[in-house]
């Protein structure tokens, strides 16, 4: 049950700060540009990212748990930061199911949270997530898995724009058989939705959706919307003109000189 290979290969470091926090067995929240990792005793106990549905969406969308059941558990055990344990102890979610779902959500959010960024990370010591302990994961395992996932995506189809851009259909699935799970993803590709939006609507892990989308892109069925195409720029920014208004600049200069 222990990962024996931790010491054999030099552990890849995605975040030197995370590495240091693991070494000092820190407890708290590491806030990065695209998500937050929660540590307890230097291990990752939870992760969240706006790029991927939270465990509440995953559990309630598929029918594993009613929405009221989730909020009842949060109300009853949220203050004690033991919501995960409480879901199991109160018989709402089986222990194995919670572990599978929570681990999936943790690695999924960590993948996005550890995405390259120029914004410096912040760490708040002592902060704990209200979901509470479920199945802590070593920092090394999370970093290794995140790197492996990046490579997996690039092996399937090396176009990272698929992960973030609005997507459009480019082919007829009649030409190539698409398995049911991937077909549901394809049905949500409409020229406007991004991978994250599709994951939220389906209540699926965003990384799983990325894998499906890259496979669909490799099959020629999906492509990132070209810039300038309808739906591509949902926030219309004013055009930046190449030639400045010379007359206006002259008038400004004259006015400044006249002061």
């Amino acid at each position: 049950m222990t990962a024996a290979l931790a010491d054999e290969t030099a552990a890849p470091v995605l975040s030197p700060m995370l590495q240091r926090l693991a070494a000092e067995r820190a407890t708290g929240a590491l806030m990065r540009d695209r998500g937050t990792l929660y540590l307890a005793d230097g291990k990752v106990v939870h992760a969240e990212s706006p790029a991927t549905p939270g465990i509440d969406v995953l559990l309630t969308r598929g029918g594993a748990l009613r929405r009221e059941g989730w909020w009842d558990a949060v109300a009853e055990a949220g203050a004690g930061q033991r919501v995960g344990r409480h879901l199991v102890d109160s018989g709402r979610v089986p222990g194995g199911a919670l572990e599978l779902c929570h681990l999936g959500a943790l690695y999924d959010a960590a993948f996005f949270a550890l995405a390259p960024t120029r914004t410096p990370a912040r760490f708040r010591y002592g902060v704990a997530h209200w979901i509470g302990p479920v199945r802590p994961v070593p920092v090394d395992a999370v970093q290794r898995e995140t790197l492996r996932r990046r490579e997996l995506l690039d092996r399937i189809w090396p176009d990272a724009a698929v992960d973030t851009a609005p997507l459009t259909r480019t082919g007829d699935p009649a030409d190539a058989p698409v398995p049911p799970g991937r077909r549901r993803v394809l049905e949500h590709v409409d020229g406007v939705r991004t991978a994250t939006a599709i994951a939220q609507e389906l209540g699926r892990s965003a990384f799983h959706v990325l894998v499906d989308l890259r496979r669909l892109a490799a099959a020629g069925l999906v492509a990132p919307t070209a810039p300038g195409a309808p739906g591509a720029d949902r926030i219309a920014l004013p055009e930046v003109t190449a030639d400045p208004d010379v007359a206006l600049l002259r008038r400004l200069r004259d006015a400044l000189e006249a002061l």
Binding site: L5, G96, A97, L100, R148, P179, P180, G203, H208, V211
Partner: protein
């Protein structure tokens, strides 16, 4: 109230069991492991077996006759298990049906001389069900 570790311990009680893992076949991530792995690296083994499980789960030939073909919300592929026989052992990949979106299977590596494939196949099916049942 069994969790991942309890189920893996159960799997290892089978005669001839050499190693086992709970794996996500979309990503190739090992969610839990126990015992030995055929190439000495549980994570690499998980990535390899995940590819086999995915191929089986996604082939239209194996989807024929499944009750919930298109439109279903269940995450279970119509395939129940995949069995690979090698000169030294058996590998059973047993899909786990969950009522949230997932792509999880149990991998059992069984010694060919000591293991009982028929027994192991029945037991791992029961354990896969118990993993996600209260």
């Amino acid at each position: 109230m069994p969790g991942i570790d309890e189920c893996l311990l159960d799997v290892m009680r089978l005669p001839g069991a050499r190693g086992a893992a709970v794996v996500d076949w979309t990503s190739g991530l090992a969610l839990g492991t126990i015992g030995d792995s055929p190439n000495g690296d549980h994570e690499a083994t998980a990535a390899e077996t995940a590819e086999v499980a995915r191929m089986a789960a996604e082939q239209p030939a194996f989807a024929a006759g499944s009750p919930d073909a298109p439109g279903g919300t269940g995450s279970a592929p119509p395939v129940e298990d995949v069995i690979v026989t090698t000169s030294a052992g058996y590998h059973i990949l047993r899909f786990v049906e969950t009522d949230f979106d997932s792509s999880v299977f149990l991998h059992l590596w069984l010694d060919r001389a000591e293991g009982n494939l028929a027994l192991a196949r029945i037991r791992i099916g029961e354990i896969a069900e118990r993993l996600v049942l209260a």
